[in-house]
Symmetry: C2
Subunit: 274 residues, 2 copies
């Protein structure tokens, strides 16, 4: 069991900001990452479609031999964590609860802001997670749909990033929150812009960092943590590896190689073939 | 044959700018439109994946009874027109050739600019179509990946639209083209911004308008045009109808109703069920 991998999936490259944190904290673990790049982005899709895609990704990773599943995508975690927890025979973690916990720890004013995709914000998953921990906290949230394409186009230092950050974050500045959760795995690439826009009095929560700590705790609790040797990461994508390699290397801060193409995620196909 | 419908597909709502023109020109025709909203956008995907999706959309429409197929998506037309022409037993038209023809007619300086998605620009489909008509024409092109999300978010009158238009179109202004082809079905929504940015000396080609004329000619030539009565439009989408209704109504300039949800486009499923 210990030698099995950590499975992670995201709609595309975004989850690599989570993978990076998991790898830093757990360098002995093998990681198998799946990016569903043929169907990215999930953020504007319906709950039904996101859940279907999440189930297909989870089943694919299960056939590869994993001991824990990390939903490294806020949209999928917001909409599909419960069903995956119910259906899968291994521990399943999403990025929402660890992010919510960290936000609750840091807020003094009891005012938290959440930014994410339309589907994540509409799901109210962060609100529910935060209110479970402290019902007195005031949560405000808003989708920032242009942040993902801005990051994917490498425009995170361009004036368009600052312009959209001003527009999207204005209401949070007006409502005097003291913690802002980056509820989308793409947003850490914009952390500088978000920090400059919000000012120094607001703590920014990077859910990937918190999720990595939660993965470690879970593996320890279950007695399935690897602590010796050096783990490696393996990458699967549903569209051509080239563009994943290019954008993903920027996300990870190092060149990604050996990316494998998965023809399709229809679970009937890969259950028969594996 | 005459009473069959015109089939049109796009990755999402963009093709509605083409549908609008076809309906204006051919009000007696029935139109069946498919938006593959569960997998939109196609613009950053690989040729392999786009062609797979286009074939699935075409087969779905064939099972609905169509007499002509219009690929109302520049990315799909750029990458899949030839294979669809070969495989389908009915006339198939894309938006590229009509747009290219119109551009060639209008250029006096023999300098044409093309804007579109990454996949469309990378395919060089417009360059090839234009050079077949006049090899002496100089064609410059560039992808404008942020235009689609800007339009989908309803930001077509916002300063972010002008900022990105300035950035994307600067090189065309410097190279003194006199015709610019909007090589993506979303871009007509930005026509005002593009026109203001480029100035009055540059003609802007709306490929949907030209495609509608070509559809009419083809139906006449084949003797399968409907000229009496009033046609209606039917809409199918692969993700939830709500968001298609909201954005699509903006594209079409009137409320869209009766949108039907297609569970999935796996052709094995609908060939068995139809």
């Amino acid at each position: 069991m210990k030698t099995l991998s950590i499975g992670m999936f995201d709609s595309g490259v975004g989850g690599l900001t989570v993978l990076k944190e998991v790898r830093n904290l757990l360098p002995a673990e093998h990681i198998i990452y799946l990016g569903d790049t043929a169907r990215v982005p999930y953020g504007n899709r319906s709950p039904h479609t996101v859940t279907k895609y999440a189930l297909e990704s989870a089943l694919f990773l299960l056939t590869k031999g994993i001991k824990i599943l990390v939903i490294a995508c806020n949209t999928s975690a917001a909409l599909s964590l419960n069903i995956l927890k119910k259906k899968l025979p291994i521990p399943v973690l999403g990025v929402i609860d660890p992010g919510a916990k960290e936000a609750v720890t840091h807020t003094k004013k009891k005012k938290i802001g959440i930014i994410g995709t339309k589907a994540t914000i509409r799901s109210m998953a962060y609100e529910r997670a935060i209110r479970r921990l402290d019902p007195a906290i005031e949560v405000s949230s808003r989708p920032c749909p242009l942040f993902v394409p801005i990051v994917e186009e490498g425009l995170e230092h361009d004036e368009v990033a600052y312009l959209m950050a001003e527009k999207y974050l204005k209401e949070f500045k007006d409502s005097h929150i003291d913690v802002l959760v980056m509820g989308c795995t793409h947003y850490p690439i914009l952390e500088d812009v978000i920090r400059k826009t919000m000012g120094d009095d607001v703590s920014i929560v990077h859910t990937g960092k918190e999720t990595a700590k939660e993965v470690k705790k879970t593996l320890e609790r279950e007695g399935i943590i690897s602590e010796t040797g050096r783990g490696h990461s393996e990458y699967f994508v549903t569209d051509s590896p080239e563009s994943f390699e290019e954008i993903g290397s920027r996300f990870l801060g190092e060149r990604i190689t050996h990316i494998k193409f998965v023809k399709n995620l229809d679970y009937k196909d890969f259950l028969l073939s594996s």
